[in-house]
Symmetry: C2
Subunit: 362 residues, 2 copies
């Protein structure tokens, strides 16, 4: 097991990464205020991991009850959040209850937000069960829900007590979702860690085959990269925005297709190709670098071509994105592999060309 310590302004918390972690009570118990736990999970994850976890907790005298939500990004909304509040209130949960998020990013974001706002804040533990949530939402404290008018519009910055990333849970993850997680892993290489990108090129096959030690290393290096960025900039005023590489394009794709049709990571992968393409047109990324990016994403079984969306639709959706300052669309773009920049200083004609391109194959 690897343990990573995330140090933020006021406090720090550990991320445990390894095999067989879900049966280790010592990773959970020391982080509880009192022996009272609500496990928030969904209808897909519950049949796989809920009962063993409930049994483990009960064996150690910890009062635990589940809150099982419908599965999917389309349920990351106010109504589902209210279901969590309602159960917590019905169970008379006090400030000493700890929420456990057992599931992917949607469960983590909603549980974290419920924890941030129930009685003005109760502790929570994250048990991410998808690769995406293990490398992304487990670091940085972003919690929240979607609004009919946009993704993640309502939320809070709120840190967990600890994160338990058990790679065994990846064995039950559909290939498509695993690849979606790989998109974020590759992103860390692209934005700030050329050595990691090179390592990924070398090990992508083993990763796809779920080699445990490779997985642990990939998750650990991803979380470390994210932690480094977040520690520099906890509230996303500056450098943290580079973590949104591919996201402004990606959110537009997700939104245009209807949330849940494209997986978040798939949209981000295609968004990263678009960002790299625009960067190439700007002369910031070389042809062979662009080709390596496309190749690695393809090998990770990710889509690289966007769906049919008109340029106008892109522009409308992209300016809804919250990374707009003074009405101008700022984008995260590449300056080679392992270096990125947040800028509105690009040629609009080139953006147009990228938005009109529907085939990025090399």
């Amino acid at each position: 097991m690897q343990t990573l310590h995330i140090q933020l302004e006021n406090r720090s918390y550990p991320i445990y990464i390894g095999e067989g972690l879900l049966s280790q009570i010592k990773l959970i118990e020391p982080h509880l205020k009192q022996k009272h736990v609500a496990i928030v999970t969904n209808t897909t994850v519950a049949p796989l991991y809920l009962d063993p976890l409930l049994t483990l907790l009960k064996e150690h005298g910890i009062k635990a009850f589940p809150i099982i939500l419908p599965d999917g990004e389309s349920y990351k909304n106010q109504e589902t959040l209210n279901l969590i509040y309602d159960v917590l209130l019905k169970e008379k949960c006090e400030r000493t209850v700890t929420l456990i998020a057992l599931g992917g990013g949607v469960i983590g974001d909603m549980t974290g937000y419920a924890a941030a706002t129930y009685l003005r804040g109760v502790p929570f533990i994250q048990i991410p069960t998808t690769l995406l949530s293990q490398v992304d939402s487990s670091v940085g404290g972003k919690t929240g829900i979607n609004h009919p008018m946009g993704k993640n519009m309502i939320g809070a910055f709120y840190q967990p007590q600890c994160v338990i990333a058990d790679i065994d849970t990846l064995k039950t993850l559909p290939q498509r979702e695993f690849s979606a997680g790989m998109a974020e892993v590759i992103k860390y290489g692209l934005i700030r860690d050329e050595a990691f990108f090179n390592w990924l090129e070398k090990n992508i096959e083993g990763l796809i085959k779920l080699n445990p030690s490779l997985l642990i290393e990939a998750i650990q290096r991803s979380c470390q990269n994210k932690a480094d960025v977040v520690e520099m900039d906890e509230h996303e005023s500056g450098v943290r925005a580079t973590l949104n590489l591919g996201h402004t394009f990606g959110h537009a794709i997700e939104n245009a297709m209807g949330y849940g049709v494209w997986l978040h990571g798939e949209a981000v992968a295609t968004g990263m190709v678009m960002a790299a393409h625009l960067s190439k047109l700007m002369g910031w990324v070389k042809d062979n670098e662009f080709n390596r990016i496309v190749k690695l994403l393809k090998e990770a079984k990710l889509p690289i071509d966007p769906p049919k969306i008109t340029e106008d639709q892109y522009m409308a959706l992209m300016s809804m994105d919250k990374k707009v300052v003074d009405g101008k669309i700022r984008l995260v773009l590449q300056k080679g592999i392992g270096d990125s920049v947040i800028t509105s200083d690009y040629d609009s004609k080139h953006l147009k060309t990228t938005l009109q391109n529907s085939n990025f194959s090399v």
Copy 2:
């Protein structure tokens, strides 16, 4: 004008207290991130203070638009909060927008919570227009909404950029609401400041008549007392709970009668009498101290006798209150005037006697 600086863990903010403050742009402008403001207010306050404020902002090149909510505690809920989100999204407000809460405690709590959660946090400024909100919600960062199952169940700790307490706004405040604010003022004397309690006994008549210098002093000393407590304990794990003197009884009264029938301050006043009564039965408060408490509250035109609520109803409602630890009702009780204690170490028979008493007149 008096300026009080509230210093919390990570940052500090000023509270301006005085006359004619609403026409002073220099109290607002330096606190804006950009010249973009949403003023959240209600149908009662808007006709009185909205237009001059909008004009002032526009004269100084600040883009401002109002969000006018229905007035009353019964609207402090998810639906009304959603109205705020909807307008902010429709107006394409970015992270650089500043929310201004123009109104009483309900407006302050909801606006603060909207600010805490819109795009995971935008700045806000409080302009409290009731005595209660000037001495209570302007310090401590408590924001939130009610849930059908209880008051303030959903919320966040979130600090404003500044608070502007203009005592001119008290001239338009109904007498009943002014008195409700006085209940919280008197509370600070009771829980920790005997000298302030004595000063209030001496000056209650002038305060009721809205003498400006007396009002400024009362607000300043109240905020200072609250700030001292909050600074010791920002997240309400310990001593801050003394600020809830009268609140556990008071919330039960408000809840039993239906929110809005009794004003919060009125319920707290009666709750403080009940707490003092139980303290007297415990031998912690002398007869003459109890009498002084009842007398001052009466002179502030506050109710001292509870409505007809059965003991069982009290017990059920009080154990819903979030200041319960391990299922036992902890109460804030008096040890004389100017000293208070949070305890579950009282005689249940005495609590019963207090709950059954419906006439506390002396």
